[in-house]
């Protein structure tokens, strides 16, 4: 009796449910866990869930991008259906291209509103594998109040930065803050160090590890100079501990008022000006310094995309969630409340966005001209190239090897990673 009744009811409501929006699905999404990633993700995914009648589960991932990629590759190798929507670092499309769904049939051309360079980065073999979500570029954060106190300007070159940082550090330490540091950045042996070091190399015109044709260019005098300069900071203006700092460790020191300068991504702006920050309202942002007078400003291109796993059982609903999360409305709210850089050009002239993040306007060129890491040239082998590079850099920074020896060794190692003529 009851069984019959149940199936009768099911038969009656099934067409209605189908009309509503396919059938209700449960979509699992991974959003990231740095800064405010998780809170925003929860808010926006539940908005989408309420709109479409689907359910969303959040998947917690590690902090470090290196660990996230490792986790995803294992899940892909097992053809896991646990994850539907995944967050994709800007350097990954070439690495995980075989495991993502072509989004162009779901996007209705929405990708045309996003920065073309990022859309191009996310398009492999003519397939749009991921939708741009937010973009990132390395920035120099400084303490406006301290620069004024010591009569200094925001530094234009790394050499100036070292002088100013030393002056402020000595002054603040003499004034009683023994833990005060001149400059903090990311120098732990992980992807973040590759980002920082690419900025140093490029700012000294030292190339980008591997050039666009796949030639290994890293062993050159300008690159040696760049790494030597960076190594000279350790123990003088930066604590030895930066050798184990990722983004959040650096932000911890800066936001506690214990550093004059910090290299970090835009997300640190809104947190640094948050209610619980000791330095709210005292932060200035500029482009990263040039490498000497002949150098140039360089910021590494970062940022994240959203993509749908090929092994997802609900690809259509997952794609709809991706399109919602990358829409102008969501990007605008994330920009205002979390200083996540939109990937849609028109949002950079939006009044509300600029009021919350004045530097989005003044540093617009930094964001559009950011230097990509050599992920396109090295394809599937990028993670290995990057690891070899950050290990070589870490050895120089920690004083274990000289810059000359380390880069020479790296060149040999990269040749070995390449295994032949092409990557």
């Amino acid at each position: 009796m009851t069984f019959k009744l149940k199936s009768a009811i099911l038969a009656a409501i099934a067409p209605v449910a189908l009309m509503a929006s396919a059938q209700a699905a449960t979509i699992t999404i991974s959003c990231g866990s740095v800064g405010q990633d998780f809170e925003f993700c929860k808010k926006h995914t539940s908005e989408w869930a309420a709109k479409t009648g689907n359910e969303v589960k959040l998947f917690t991932i590690p902090n470090s991008t290196t660990d996230i990629l490792a986790l995803f590759r294992q899940m892909f190798a097992a053809k896991s259906t646990d994850l539907d929507v995944i967050n994709v670092d800007v350097v990954w499309p070439g690495v995980i291209k075989d495991h993502l769904v072509d989004l162009s049939k779901y996007s209705n051309g929405a990708e045309k509103n996003h920065f073309p360079a990022i859309v191009k980065n996310n398009t492999v073999d003519g397939k749009l594998l991921a939708m741009p979500w937010f973009t990132d570029a390395g920035l120099l954060y400084y303490r406006k109040d301290l620069l004024a106190k010591y009569n200094a300007k925001a530094p234009a070159t790394w050499e100036e930065l070292a002088v100013v940082a030393k002056k402020i550090q000595d002054g603040e330490r003499a004034a009683g803050n023994a833990d005060f540091q001149g400059f903090v950045f990311q120098a732990k042996a992980y992807e973040g160090l590759t980002c920082d070091a690419v900025e140093w190399l490029t700012s000294y015109n030292g190339g980008n590890i591997v050039d666009a044709d796949g030639k290994i260019t890293v062993n050159n005098p300008s690159a040696v100079k760049a790494l030597k300069t960076a190594a000279s900071w350790i123990g003088t203006i930066a604590p030895q501990g930066v050798l184990n700092y990722a983004e959040e460790e650096a932000r911890g020191v800066f936001q506690n008022g214990n550093a004059a300068f910090m290299r970090n991504w835009p997300y640190a702006w809104s947190l640094g000006n948050g209610k619980d920050s000791k330095i709210a309202g005292k932060i200035g942002v500029s482009a990263l310094p040039k490498g000497g007078a002949d150098g140039k400003n360089a910021a590494t291109l970062g940022g994240w995309q959203l993509a749908v796993s090929k092994y997802s059982k609900n690809q259509e609903a997952a794609a709809s969630l991706v399109m919602y999360m990358t829409s102008p409305e969501v990007q605008k709210e994330r920009a205002i409340k979390g200083s996540y850089n939109p990937t849609i050009a028109s949002l950079y002239t939006d009044k509300d966005v600029l009021a919350a993040n004045p530097f989005f306007g003044s540093l617009y060129d930094v964001f559009t001209n950011a230097v990509p890491r050599p992920a396109t040239a090295t394809g599937l082998k990028y993670p290995e190239v990057s690891a070899a590079f950050w290990n070589a850099t870490h050895d120089v920074l920690s004083g274990k090897t000289s810059a000359e020896d380390s880069l020479k060794k790296l060149e040999g190692k990269l040749n070995q990673v390449r295994r032949g003529k092409t990557w």
Binding site: D98, A178, P239, G241, V253, L380, D395, G399
Partner: protein, 302 residues
Amino acid sequence: MNQKPRTAWLYLSPMLLVLIVVALWPLGRTIWFSLTDANINDIDAAKFVGLENYFGEYGLFANPNYTDGFWESDWGISIINTLKFSVVSVTIETLLGLGVALLLNQEFKGRAWVRAAVLVPWAIPTIVSAKMWGWMLHDQFGVINQWLYDLGLVAQKVAWTADPDFALWTVVAVDVWKTTPFMALLILAALQVLPKDCYEAARVDGVHPLRLFWRVTLPLIKPALMVAVIFRLLDALRIFDLIYVLTSNSNSTISMSGFVRREMVDNGYMGYGSAASTALFLIIGLCTVAYIRIGRMKLGED
């Protein structure tokens, strides 16, 4: 008469089946993978390459691209790091464990409580204790640096987990903290079953306590000590979690297991990583055999 072995096999079969599924099959698969060029991106496309991953142009051993010699390659460094870590940490743990066990073997009030308390570090999951020590050793906010600094022992706060001069030894120190209780417990168990009459006789004869320890206690607990050390050595040679969580994972602290994980998971070389994993298995086997041989030799001299 034929019935008995058959019944034995019948009773053993569930256990054998489990062993095949959880030990033999993964091991065999790893060895098989080590003979292929499998990549995590598409495991089904793997091709058989023979011993290429071990001795080939880009293999683990005899690689012509190791311009600075084998011991300067990442694989060579990870072997040295692992051996260094294992020998130093197991030695310290054995000595400290022995000391703690001798103390706990004495009669005193509240002994049961102290014995339970000593076990606490061992009971905490490694990841948790590694994170905890990571914070305590933090170069800016860490409590250990604060104490050293307040006592005037260091002029500058030390980056214990980042500085390559300290990182490996910091890992050793945390491992000693964590596993000394394990050693103490095993040795204590051996001490508890020692025959009391030997000690009675020694006391009557007025033998010096140190002499008593060297001549009576140590030889009697030696078999148990050997087993305890072997357990620890096997564990130490496959160290991974502590290093992975505590340090910056650069080449200066990478262990063999860390190398295997990096090649297999980060870089996606299932084949090459499996070869390293198989080599790790053989190296651990070799160390164990060598250790047992050395132990037997000394036993023979006695």
